[in-house]
């Protein structure tokens, strides 16, 4: 049913399969966790649900990055900032939900404000007790930041490496700012000790399952949005401005606006990913703004295959799965493994796993086409038609 709807909307089969797979996982994992007996071989333990839920939000983040990097050529080294801002917006909602259950029992102010002797709630915390308001902020804050940042940067034609480095400066500045206790976001400790979300206990298995499903749905929607954008005429324009920006200008387009749009959409997606991430890991702190985190996102995307829709998802799942596994099994060596992976992928799989596979398939098809074209060319050479004679 879903696939039929998607197909009618002009999505490729591969994308449809991905979406169906994500949604199926979104249903199967929670069901297995909640319904099956723990001894059942197909039972998914809660800790795996939490883990996978986290990976899904990472996948959405990687997909968001891919939209700007893979398709638009903007290598953002600051996408972690949008993710974190979305996370903070969600975290602020969750903090307000604690109410009197904080250690000091203050009905309005979070604990960290109480023990630092804050007298009243800062103005920017107002409204976050409403879920809808927080959700608007989840999209709006990263979106606005991306819009303003992009508006300046793209109009000034800051490109390539320069853009990458100022995005890094942006997330670094935000990290320093959020580390400050005076900012009113809990400083280094960030926001934590969440109790419930929309009235449900965040620690309950059912809530976890629901959050997992929500993450799967969000990722599926992300895939649809990305596929629709990149598959449209606009997507071609994105690729055009990625490959030859000034050429698009001479065709009368404004590539800066193309980039700005993609950057803003991508930031909103990253923000949503962050918002889903926070209740599942139970904490948001300025470490999420660290430039290293943003670079890691780039790596997931590169490993999976940038410029493809499935690539970043696979990359995020693979690298993070590997990280979880290595930090448990070979804790001293996981950095070697991670570092080695980066080097290996850039050297030997420049298009990432999915990109390389696609190339492989594409080349075969191309070969067949080329053969056909040669035949056609030979045929047309045989009977020359005067050019432009019509």
């Amino acid at each position: 049913m879903i696939s039929g709807y998607l197909a009618r909307n002009g999505l490729e089969g591969r994308i449809i399969a991905t979406i169906v797979l994500i949604l199926a996982a979104g249903v199967a994992v929670p069901v297995s966790n909640l319904v099956l007996d723990p001894s059942h071989p197909l039972h998914v333990p809660t800790y795996i649900v939490a883990l996978l839920g986290k990976y899904l939000t990472y996948a959405l983040l990687a997909l968001a990055l891919d939209l700007v990097w893979g398709f638009c050529g903007i290598l953002s080294l600051g996408h972690g900032a949008f993710f974190a801002l979305g996370g903070y917006a969600m975290g602020m909602y969750l903090m307000r939900q604690i109410g009197t259950r904080g250690v000091y029992g203050n009905p309005v102010m979070p604990d960290f404000m109480v023990f630092l002797n804050w007298k009243e709630l800062p103005w920017y915390w107002h409204g976050f007790d409403q879920f809808w308001f927080a959700m608007v902020m989840v999209a709006l804050v990263p979106g606005m930041l991306a819009f303003v940042f992009g508006w300046f940067a793209f109009r000034s034609r800051v490109t390539g490496v320069y853009l990458s480095i100022i995005t890094q400066a942006m997330t670094y500045a935000l990290m320093l700012a959020f580390f400050r206790n005076d900012m009113g976001f809990g400083g280094n400790n960030g926001l934590t000790d969440f109790k419930d979300i929309l009235g449900f206990d965040v620690q309950a298995d059912t809530t976890r399952a629901a959050l997992f499903a929500a993450s799967a749905v969000a990722l599926a929607i992300g895939v649809i949005i990305t596929a629709r954008i990149t598959g449209s005429h606009f997507g071609k324009l994105m690729i055009a401005s990625r490959d030859a920006e000034s050429r698009t200008r001479f065709l009368g387009y404004r590539p800066e606006m193309v980039k700005l749009f993609a950057f803003t959409v991508s930031a909103v997606m990253a923000g949503v990913a962050g918002a889903l991430y926070v209740p599942q890991v139970g904490i948001i702190n300025p470490g999420e703004f660290a430039p290293a985190n943003s670079i890691e996102v780039v790596v997931w995307t590169a490993v999976g295959g940038r410029g493809t829709i499935i690539g970043p998802i696979i990359g995020a799942l693979l690298v993070n799965g590997g990280k979880s596994w290595f930090t448990g099994v070979l804790p001293e060596f996981w950095l070697f493994a991670l570092g080695g992976l980066f080097v290996f992928v850039t050297l030997f799989l420049p298009k990432g796993i999915v990109g390389t596979l696609q190339d492989h398939i594409g080349r075969r098809r191309e070969k067949r086409q080329a053969e056909k074209a040669e035949e056609a060319e030979a045929a047309s050479a045989a009977e020359p038609t005067p050019v432009g004679a019509e």
Binding site: I229, F234, K236, D243, A244, R247, G252, Y253, M257, E390
Partner: protein
């Protein structure tokens, strides 16, 4: 000197310098509506810089640049100028390598260029037909769905000319269209340009004298950023100064 009205392109007293190097010095150049003009000149004569000025990539330090007699081009940027109706083909063929031939043309087709129009644009049958027509003209019909990166050099040149046609500009600036082409291809390109010139104003920059001869139009020779000589090819090529700096003795 010349009346601006009635011209498609009007440059008067234009100068531009980069870090002290004067790329264009007091250049005046006039192109009438419907005219095709060939520009020749040695390397560094300012041919490409002149095109940069006309298309808004470079702003002149002084001088007037008018399009269609009334539009001051120095006040517009590249995208504006392109929408006004000036198309440009680059010296090095610049097509969108990872897109198909058809997509390249589709992007060039005249249509609203703002983000949201593009975002919700649909491929109509009218557009597809127009693409087919152009493909026919530039002889790339059999390459329709191929990625542009796999085209030969000459095919890329033609694709770019095709994109110019799709853009349907009033004025075409064509920079070295036959570089790297075989003689046969060169002849066909010349024929194609003449064809286009019947309905458009065209400026062609080219080194290939054989090709310029084929075009059979008025020639302007630039040197050190100003006009050195102007007239028929025979007139220009017999000019002593042109021989001195460009054609060689």
């Amino acid at each position: 000197m010349v009346e601006r009205a009635g011209t498609i392109l009007y440059l008067d007293g234009v100068s531009v310098a980069f870090d002290g190097f004067k790329a264009i010095q007091n250049l005046s150049f006039v192109l009438k509506r419907g005219e095709m003009r060939a520009i020749i000149g040695p390397n560094g004569a300012g041919k490409t810089t002149m095109m940069d000025i006309v298309t808004g990539k470079t702003r002149p330090d002084e001088g007037d640049v008018y399009f269609n007699g009334t539009i001051d081009l120095t006040r517009h940027d590249e995208a504006d100028i392109a929408t006004l109706g000036i198309g440009r083909k680059f010296q090095k063929p610049t097509v969108f390598e990872s897109l198909t031939v058809a997509d390249n043309l589709s992007l060039a087709l005249a249509a609203p260029r703002d983000v949201f129009s593009v975002l919700f644009a649909r491929e109509s049958s009218g557009r597809a037909r127009r693409i087919d027509e152009i493909l026919e003209i530039v002889r790339l019909g059999h390459r329709r769905e191929h990625v542009a990166a796999n085209l030969s050099h000459g095919q890329k040149q033609w694709l770019e000319i095709g994109m110019l046609l799709a853009q349907d500009p009033k004025l075409l600036l064509v920079d070295e269209p036959v570089a790297g082409m075989t003689d046969a291809e060169t002849e066909e390109t010349a024929r194609l340009l003449r064809e286009i010139a019947a309905t458009h104003s065209v400026v062609v920059v080219e080194h290939d004298m054989h090709f310029v001869r084929e075009l059979d139009v008025k020639v302007t020779c630039l040197h050190e950023g100003s006009v050195l000589s102007e007239g028929s090819l025979d007139h220009v090529s017999s000019d002593k100064r042109v021989i001195e700096v460009y054609l060689g003795r």
